[in-house]
Amino acid sequence: MLETTATPRNASLHPPLDTRYQVETPEGIDLPLRPAGLLVRTLAFSLDLGIRGLVLGLLFIVLGFFGEIGIGLGSILLFLISWWYMVLFEVLNQGRSPGKQLMGLRVVQDDGTPIGWSASLTRNLLRFADMLPFGYFLGAISCLQHPTFKRLGDLAAGTLVIYREQSLTRPQLPDATPRLAPFALSLNEQRAILGFAERQGQLSAERTRELAAILAQPLHVPAAQATAELNGIARGFLGST
């Protein structure tokens, strides 16, 4: 009764409950991306706005000393910073403007590849349409109703704002003697038991016991020993090092 995670070819895929967005690569691998929602993007944009304001303020103070050349230079810089700040950072810094970097976001193309000049310019020029009629009204509506939170500029440019993957630190499995499960387990059950053992450090002892007790009966052990039994099974899956 071994059940695999691969679905039969004709089966329709379940839409996932969370907001993951699957990119299928030419190698036949499904890569999950995690699109970022309205709030975190707003925060990132506000940070960018603040940074730009600060930089411009400082520049104008400095350029003020240079008189008219300073003013001319200043208006070119104003142009560069207001229209090209996002584009330059997104293309040259792996899809991350400083605000996005701070919020752990990045922009990618729909297929998960890094964003190029054309796409970045499109999404940032169309920001103007997103801001209509005031305060990002259209952009916010588009973002809220879209399954992967795209604003109008993202729709036209075919881009996606996603969370950057954070590197994981691997927890130590609790000590237990490895043992076999008393009956065959499906892949999902296998991963659930491994997950239980790996995340024990984050749970309180009471909660651990409570969760393990649910499985005491099918495992034919007293509730008090269920935790140890499950950890043993997880060890067994992992194998000896």
């Binding site: 690569t25 036949g28 691998i29 142009f79 209509l132």
Partner: protein, 326 residues
Amino acid sequence: MKQSLFESRHQAQWQQFEQLLDQLERGRTRAEDCQSFVQDYRRLCQHLALAQERGYSSYLIDPLQQLVLRGHQQLYRQRTAISANVLAFMLAGFPRLVRQEWRLVLIASLLFFGSLLGIGLLVYLYPELVYSLVSQQQVAEMRSMYDPSGTRLGRVAERASSEDWVMFGYYIMHNIGIAFQTFASGLLFGLGSVFFLFFNGLMIGAIAGHLTQIGFGQTFWPFVIGHGAFELSAIALSGAAGLKLGWALIAPGRLRRGDALLQAARVSVQLIYGVIVFLLIAAFIEAYWSSMTWPAAWIKYSVGAGLWSLMLAYLTLAGRESHAPE
């Protein structure tokens, strides 16, 4: 195979691949380092599929997925050699694109130049009309700017080169802003572009008509004729790019609206590249040539006519030969 064995067997390969990725992402690789990249990447994909299929722990699968994603980004990214393409694009690609989109360019030009000339003529014939379009304060500003008895243009004569520089910056900021607005608002089913084309046409036309009617034409026309060639056509072209976006939403053809928009945006952003170059040229001419007062009016007019015909010839003729410089 148990997870631990699987890991200990392949860990070294994964780490090696990760180091290579680090180098690639920082752009510090030599060609010989990447010889085995594709094989390594395919093998990593196979490992990931195996790990998923055997129900290994998430703490193994997730890092593998991250590695595959990074490899995918390096392998399938679009690389464009900008510097080589810019010249080919400006010499041939852009005028070809404009001719390919001639319908939209024609509509945008009719909207913009039509409203400009129409209202200019109307204001010239019925002078009081200007006040219903342009605020009184703005009219006064324009008047003082182009007053032949010389307040500001008189000052231009002894304008230092530093001031040309100021105006260059200002024109870039102001004009590219208008062009970008005209383009971006096209996303609203083209309505925004139509509005901005029409509105800018009205404003410019009204002021031109008014200044001519009150007899300031002798300072106004020599000033604007030169850079107008590139500035006005750039606005019309950015309007055409915006209309392209809007039209993809109105009549997507056999595609879904989202896909039609994606394709249209890819074309219209190229139009915008050309528009940016046009506006840079215009700002340069405006700051350094149009503001000069020593050339006589006839020189200004003939240079202006030359620039207009240069621009038109460029858009209609450049890049026609199949062996155009690439």
